[in-house]
Amino acid sequence: MTKEPETVIKLSEIVRTYNLSAEPVYALRGVSLEIKQGEYVAIMGTSGSGKSTLMNIIGCLDKPTSGTYTLDGQDITTRSDDELAAIRNRTIGFVFQQFNLLHSMTALQNVMLPLVYAKVPKVNRKVKAELALSELGLSSRMEHKPNELSGGQQQRVAIARAIVNSPRILLADEPTGALDSNTAREIMGLFNRLMEEGMTVIIVTHDPETASHAKRVIKVKDGLIQEDTL
C-alpha cells in the first residue's frame, strides 16, 4: 500500500488535427501528460479549447494524428479497432454530457449492455447491473426507459453503465452540463465517491466548485495544456 501509485495514462506530444477543409484545424497541438492510478483530475478550459478531443483520445474513442498514448504501459496508437473496443469495454468507463442511453431499452438493459459485449454470463449480468443501479440509488427505476426518467436519473444510469464492468478509469465529459445546479451537485458527489473507491477519475467541467473537489486541475487552451496544478 505504501508503494508509489503507478502511471496509468501517459500522453506524449499528442496532436489531433481535422482536415475537413484545405486549412487543417488543430484540436490538440502537442499535449503531454501523465496520470497515475487513483488520481482525480478536472480538465477545464473554454469551449473549443480541445477538452473533448483530449478525452476522446484518452477514452480510446479517437486516435491522435501524431504522438504516443501509453495506457497501462502499452502503446495504444498501434492497436486495432477491435482491440480499442475491448479496452473501452473493460478498462475505461465513459460518461457523456448527453447521457447517450439507448431509448428502446430499460435502465437495467442499458446497464447490462457493456456486460453483453464483455461476454459476462447472463445470470451474472443482471446481478451486476442491479448492483450498480442500486449503488446509484436507482433500485426503483430499473425497468424504466430513459424517457421516463429525469435528466439526473438518466445521467446516473449512464454512470452505472460506465462503472458496471469495474473499469479502472472513469472519464466524464461535462457530465453535469445538461443538468440543473442541484442535480449537478448530486452527480458530482457520486464522482467524488467513486474516486474514493480507488477509481482514476477524469472530469471535464466548467464549474470551479466541481473542479475544487479534484486534487488536480488541468487547464487547456487552444489545444495545449496551459496550466497543471500538479
Partner: protein, 414 residues
C-alpha cells in the same frame, strides 16, 4: 456451448432492433411474405399444371398411336381438299391383320350431331367406333355395357352415352337412360350403356360423346363415301408392350404401300404417339412454370431490395445507437452480426409466413378456382433457403456500413 450462447445473445440484440420499429419491420417482412408466397403459389400452379398434363396424357391409354388422315407437314401439297378422306376402315383392318407389333386397333369416325330424347336435346359428338375402343382408351361403361362384336356385325341400332350427354338428356326427368330410344338425326338408337366419368383430356370433353358401332354409323349416319369407301377420321392403335417403334414403322410402311406412296414427303397420313403428346404438354407446362418462376423471382428480388433499403435507413437512423454500442465496447463483428441477423430474421420470418400463405393460396386456388396445384416439399425448402439467402445478401452491405462507422462521428450524430 459458449458460441451457442453468443448466438442467442446476438439473436436477442437483433430481435430488439426489429421490435424497436415494429411497423417498419412488419412492412419489410411483408415484402418478403408476398415474394415467397407468390413463389410457392406459382410454383404450385406450374407443378399442378405439369402433373395434370401428364395425368391426362397417361389417361389416354398406354402405348397409344394415333393415325390420322392428312400430312403432318402443312406446307406439303398432299394437304389438299381430299386428303382428309384418305384413311379408310380397310386401312384399319389391314393394320390389325398385318402389323405384328400392333396389339389392338379401333377405327373411329366422329361427327357433331343433335341428340334428342323426349323434350330434351343436346348437341354432341357422335363417335362411331369399334368395341376395341374401350380397352385402347382405357375408358369403360359405368352402367350397362359397351357394344359387342355381334352389335358390330349386325350393325345394331344401339348407343352408349357419355356422362354429360346422359345428364343432358335424362338429368331433368331423372329417368334411367337404359333401354331408352335416343334420336340422332332422325334415327333411333337404344341406350345400352353409360360411360364412366373421364373429364377433359387433350382439350376434348370425353364425357360429351355418344358411341355407336362403326358399322351402324356407316349404315345410318356417317362416313360412307362412294369413291373411297368406308372412311375413318382416325385410327387408334395400341402397340404391344415396348414395341411402339416397331409398330410405328410397320404402320407407316403398310399405309405407304396401300396408298401407293413412294416419297415419304407425300404421306397422306400422320402418326402421333403418346410420347409426342407428352413431350408437347411438358414443354408447354415447362415454359409456363419458368414464366411463373421468373415472375415470382422478380417479386422476391423486389422484396430483397426492400430489406436492403430499410436496413440502410435503419443504419442511418440508428447511427447514434451504433456509436453508443461501439463506445461501450462492441466490436466490428458484433455490430455486423447485429444488423445481418436483423435482416436475416426479417427475411426468414417473411419466408416462413410466405410459405404458409403460399400453401394456403395454392390450396385455395385448387378449392375455389378449381386449378390443379401441387406444392412440393422441394419448393418449400427452396423458398426457405432463398429467404435466408436474401437476408444475408441484402443485409450484408448495410451491416458493413454500420460496423465501419467511426464511434466519435456516430456518437455525434442525432
Amino acid at each position: 456451448m459458449k458460441s451457442l450462447e453468443d448466438i442467442s445473445e446476438l439473436l436477442a440484440i437483433a430481435w430488439q432492433g426489429i421490435l424497436s420499429n415494429r411497423l417498419r419491420s412488419a412492412l419489410t417482412v411483408l415484402g418478403i411474405v408476398i415474394g415467397i408466397a407468390s413463389v410457392i403459389t406459382l410454383l404450385g400452379i406450374g407443378q399442378g399444371a405439369k402433373l395434370e398434363a401428364e395425368k391426362q396424357v397417361q389417361s389416354l391409354g398406354v402405348n397409344l398411336i394415333y393415325v390420322r388422315p392428312g400430312a403432318a407437314n402443312l406446307s406439303s401439297i398432299s394437304q389438299g381438299q381430299g386428303s382428309a378422306a384418305t384413311l379408310t376402315y380397310d386401312d384399319a383392318q389391314a393394320i390389325r391383320e398385318t402389323c405384328p407389333a400392333v396389339e389392338d386397333v379401333a377405327a373411329q369416325y366422329n361427327s357433331g350431331f343433335q341428340a334428342q330424347y323426349g323434350e330434351q336435346n343436346t348437341s354432341t359428338s357422335v363417335v362411331a367406333t369399334e368395341p376395341s375402343y374401350v380397352d385402347i382408351r382405357n375408358f369403360y361403361p359405368a352402367k350397362g355395357r359397351f357394344f359387342s362384336n355381334t352389335d358390330m356385325k349386325e350393325a345394331s341400332r344401339v348407343c352408349v352415352l357419355g356422362e354429360t350427354v346422359a345428364n343432358n338428356l335424362f338429368g331433368a326427368t331423372g329417368e334411367n337412360p337404359m333401354r331408352k330410344q335416343v334420336l340422332i338425326r332422325g334415327e333411333l338408337f337404344e341406350v345400352i350403356g353409360v360411360m364412366e366419368h373421364k373429364g377433359v383430356t387433350q382439350m376434348m370433353d370425353m364425357d360429351d360423346q355418344i358411341f355407336i358401332p362403326l358399322t351402324t354409323g356407316y349404315a345410318t349416319l356417317v362416313g360412307l363415301n362412294a369413291v373411297t369407301g368406308k372412311q375413318v377420321k382416325s385410327i387408334l392403335v395400341r402397340a404391344k408392350e415396348n414395341e411402339d417403334l416397331q409398330a410405328q414403322f410397320q404402320i407407316t410402311n403398310l399405309l405407304r404401300l396401300r396408298h401407293n406412296i413412294q416419297n415419304p414427303d407425300s404421306d397422306d397420313f400422320t402418326l402421333r404417339t403418346q410420347a409426342d403428346i407428352m413431350q408437347t404438354a411438358q414443354s408447354i407446362t415447362g415454359v409456363f412454370s419458368l414464366l411463373l418462376g421468373a415472375t415470382a423471382g422478380i417479386s422476391l428480388l423486389v422484396g430483397g431490395i426492400g430489406i436492403m433499403n430499410i436496413m440502410l435507413v435503419s443504419v442511418t437512423e440508428r447511427t447514434k445507437e451504433i456509436g453508443i454500442r461501439k463506445a461501450i465496447g462492441a466490436k466490428y463483428s458484433e455490430i455486423l452480426a447485429q444488423f445481418v441477423i436483423e435482416a436475416v430474421l426479417m427475411s426468414l420470418t417473411g419466408g416462413i409466413l410466405g410459405i404458409g400463405l403460399g400453401v394456403a393460396g395454392a390450396s385455395a386456388l385448387s378449392q375455389f378456382a378449381n386449378w390443379k396445384t401441387d406444392v412440393t416439399p422441394a419448393s418449400v425448402v427452396l423458398s426457405f433457403c432463398v429467404s435466408l439467402a436474401i437476408g444475408l445478401f441484402f443485409g450484408i452491405y448495410p451491416a458493413r456500413k454500420a460496423a465501419r462507422l467511426d464511434p466519435i462521428i456516430a456518437l455525434r450524430s442525432e
